[in-house]
């Protein structure tokens, strides 16, 4: 039995927290707001074309991920470091569960693919297959990136 696409407002209501947390982890609070708006504007435009059996969470996170990359590239051109402790508020409502500044810095310093894999895993609880779809790589590559990213984090935080 095919499910119809839910009304966009309902989709927005149910995904907004996950998308917000993902963007805060990816680009920091100060840029998350713009990325958030852009993500849902893009989603609104494309929404009616979706198949009703699509995984909406993975889809919107793919969009959010692209917006986050755009923000990173913009930042790189402006020659600012990726993890700016001053710009990122360690706010209980937007932190990962065992979040601390040191961990956050370490995530920010991971190479792009590993950072994406780690944040998609912990912000959105996505399985490897969907991380792969969001990042645009094979499931094996996603698995490896996640594994390597976590290994680097463990090393960075326990050093």
């Amino acid at each position: 039995m095919s499910r119809a696409l839910p009304p966009f407002q309902r989709f927005l209501d149910s995904e907004r927290d996950v998308v917000w947390r993902f963007l805060v982890a990816s680009v920091g609070r100060s840029e998350a707001d713009d990325c958030f708006q852009e993500t849902f504007i893009s989603a609104l435009r494309a929404y009616p074309r979706l198949r009703s059996d699509s995984n909406l969470r993975a889809w919107v996170l793919t969009i959010a991920h692209r917006k986050a990359l755009d923000a990173h590239r913009g930042r790189a051109r402006r020659a600012l470091p990726v993890a700016e402790p001053a710009a990122v508020q360690n706010d209980a409502t937007t932190s990962m569960p065992e979040h601390d500044g040191e961990l956050w810095d370490a995530v920010g310093e991971l190479p792009e693919r590993q950072r994406s894999a780690v944040t998609l895993r912990f912000m959105a609880d996505l399985p490897h297959r969907e991380i792969a779809a969001a990042i645009g790589c094979s499931e094996d590559a996603a698995r490896r990136s996640l594994h390597e990213g976590l290994a680097k984090l463990r090393k960075a935080v326990t050093a």
């Binding site: 119809a4 696409l5 009304p7 966009f8 407002q9 609104l44 929404y47 009616p48």
Partner: protein, 174 residues
């Protein structure tokens, strides 16, 4: 977006008003489950449905004026997309019943050219997606009893009393 919706305050409680760029497409009574209403709109019109901070100004204003007895005719644009071809004929006839007037189900059926008679017309009226504005409350049973109403007979009676089609001492409902 394709459809926007917002709550509208009224003597009946909070109504849900949904609009497309063509006009008001749905007006739902408070008892109707919002998610069900929205899901039907998503399926039949477009899933691009977003909540608006308020209903369009003309909708708010005209409903307000109607409920306070200041307005007898609605001028807001309507979107008839949710209404099928038979319903369209029935509700078109209904729209032409003047404020304060009534017709019977069988008269509406006849005017709408319904070979299937007043029961089919009654069903079409019962499916009216834009009650109050498309005045299905102005249709009664032959003999004057109220018949049915999606929003409940109390509201049908209230609307007819507001319009002067019914006065309490002549209230024919059983």
């Amino acid at each position: 977006m394709d459809v926007s919706y917002a709550a509208v305050d009224s003597p009946f409680g909070s109504l849900l008003a949904a609009s497309t760029e063509r006009g008001l497409v749905r007006l739902a009574f408070p008892e109707e489950d919002v998610d069900t209403v929205l899901e039907r709109l998503a399926t039949r019109l477009s899933p691009r449905i977003v909540e608006a901070p308020a209903a369009p100004q003309p909708v708010l204003r005209e409903l307000d004026e109607y409920f306070s007895g200041q307005r007898r005719e609605f001028e807001i644009d309507l979107d008839w997309s949710l209404i099928g071809p038979f319903g369209r004929r029935v509700l078109q006839v209904t729209s032409e019943i003047p404020y304060g007037g009534v017709l019977s189900y069988s008269e509406v059926a006849a005017e709408a050219g319904s070979p299937r008679g007043s029961r089919a017309a009654g069903n079409a009226l019962g499916s009216n997606p834009i009650p109050i504005v498309i005045p299905c409350h102005r249709v009664l049973r032959t003999g004057g009893s109220l018949g049915g109403y999606g929003g409940g007979l109390d509201r049908k009676r209230w609307l007819l009393e507001l319009e002067g089609a019914l006065t309490p001492r002549l209230d024919p409902s059983r």
